[in-house]
Amino acid sequence: MNAPPVQATTVLEARGLTRRFGGLVAVNDVSFSVREGEIFGLIGPNGAGKTTLFNLMTGLTPPSAGTLSYRGTRVTGLAPHRVAALGLSRTFQNIRLFRALSALENVKIAQHVRTGAGLWAGVFGTARAEEARVEERAWALLDLVGLADRAGELAANFSYGDQRRLEIARALATEPRVLLLDEPAAGMNTAEKAALTSFIREVRDRFDLTVLVIEHHVPLVMNLCDRVAVLNFGELIAVGDPASVQRDPKVIEAYLGGE
């Protein structure tokens, strides 16, 4: 298991993140920090507020209170595309690919923030070099997730597992520094899950990423993550290395009580 680098810098810092929907508190005063280069797991029973937390972190839902900062820059309050531009990119629990577009296009679109051709450059074809680069990177990313030979197929036609991998490729296309994966292993079998573990590590190393993962499957989390945070009813009940978190009585209580 990769030990986190000693004296790693903090990349993400959440302070008192809170989100209320009407009377319901989905995320309640959550604070934690994520260090550069680590794989940080987010676990908790169903409805614990994990996805809401991701939404708060990526600008899809504004927080009721609290802040998130990325290397000292405030993230909360920014629109999602600004968060993406800052270097935080995500996948979705219930896969939100551009279903009627090809795999290749899905990955090309996500390079939007890293390119600059405007309307007229596009219309007059003056951004050839940039287009070529977009095209090449898209193919390379599809290579990485093993879908290059099906680049022209519509995203909707892919199997569940392939869609999840395509979504990771798309997230990587935004050239993130932090990758947020929302249940990447959902619907995968044991062999696929094992492959996914090594794939995420490989990606992290190759792209110098910090990775946040929401995951249900406890063995996978234990195996993959450097540190784990546990949410229950919107509250953070434990943060630490997988082994210690697993022994935490509050965590055991939450899981046994919850299921």
Binding site: T51, N55, L60, T61, F92
Partner: protein
């Protein structure tokens, strides 16, 4: 503004507003179930008026293929008394309902079966409206037909009372429309809120998928919806026809656009919303100062634009929460 003026504007607004409202009831009913805007509703509304006219008068005089055909050589049995007129209105409405059912079978259901884009229903219903309107013109011409003046019996054409220095006046037929639209709303509210059919309808409106799992025949209830919408439309057509005449084949279609403003203002798919929306637009139009009456037609759409920006779900509509 003086009190009498205020009261007069209020009455005027409620009177025309209730016309908008009864037009919009059937419109919004179909939207609540299918989520489509049925442009053919205006045509069905027109048909209702023409059917009743056919029963009451029996012939179309000047133009069209039916010129000179006299349905009742001995005089119509539906003419003469308010009760027979009411019967004719009811029959006209039911036939309009059946036509609406036919429209659903021929123009909407095949589309649903194919899972076509819901927007196409707009085009299809526009096509249906075009067919109906032009068929009416072919058959009975473009002229205005008017119901006999004594359709409601020998009632005074208008009621008036003194308020301060001025007289406040209201046409009897508009009071009738107002009353009938309230009754229609109450009946519809009862049917939808209290009866088994209504519960099933609501289930279909909420989620067709779940409803069919519960053993509700979705297609059957869509047919019922169209029938109800057609009956309401046909009834409204006759009522409005008695107030303003059956003003040619485009008679109902011209209400279609304003009806759209009404149902959006009230909240798409909300039945009380259609009534509230109709009354609000009627009142807003009535309170346009005389000097600006030229802009009266823009009022409904200015309201529509404004409400969409402030509260897209309309006055009485429900918010839809988007799931991420």
């Amino acid at each position: 503004m003086e009190l009498s003026q205020l009261v007069q504007n209020l009455l005027n607004g409620l009177a025309i507003g209730s016309v908008y409202a009864i037009f919009a009831l059937g419109y919004t009913l179909v939207f609540s179930i299918l989520g489509i805007i049925n442009f053919a509703h205006g045509a069905v509304f027109t048909l209702g008026a023409y059917f009743t006219y056919t029963l009451v008068v029996g012939q179309f005089e000047n133009n069209g293929l039916l010129r000179g055909v006299n349905l009742f050589p001995q005089g119509s049995p539906f003419a003469g008394s308010p009760w027979t007129f009411a019967l004719a209105t009811l029959i006209g409405a039911v036939v309009a309902g059946l036509i609406a059912v036919l429209i659903e079978r021929l123009a909407f259901r095949p589309m649903r079966a194919r899972g076509a884009e819901p927007l196409l229903a707009l085009v299809s219903s526009l096509g249906v409206a075009l067919v109906i309107v032009n068929l009416i013109q072919l058959l009975v011409g473009a002229e205005i037909y008017n119901f006999p003046a004594n359709a409601y019996g020998e009632v005074r054409p208008a009621l008036s009372f003194q308020l301060g220095e001025r007289v406040v006046i209201i046409r009897t037929v508009q009071l009738i429309i107002f009353a009938v639209s309230l009754v229609m709303l109450a009946v519809l509210g009862y049917v939808i809120g209290r009866t088994r059919v209504g519960k099933a309808l609501r289930a279909v409106a909420e989620s067709p998928g779940t409803a069919s799992l519960l053993g509700i025949s979705v297609d059957r209830f869509i047919l019922i919806t169209f029938f109800l919408s057609g009956v309401l439309g046909g009834l409204a057509g006759t009522l409005v026809g008695t107030a303003f005449g059956v003003a040619g084949p485009y008679f109902g279609v011209t209400y279609g656009l304003k009806g759209l403003a009404v149902i959006v203002l009230g909240g798409l798919g909300s039945i009380p919303g259609a009534v509230v929306g109709g009354l609000v637009i009627g009142l807003a139009e009535a309170f346009v100062p005389g000097d600006y009456s030229a802009y009266k037609d823009a009022v409904a759409f200015a309201l529509l634009f404004a409400i969409l920006l402030v509260r897209p779900q309309g006055l009485l509509g429900r918010t839809q929460i988007q799931k991420v």
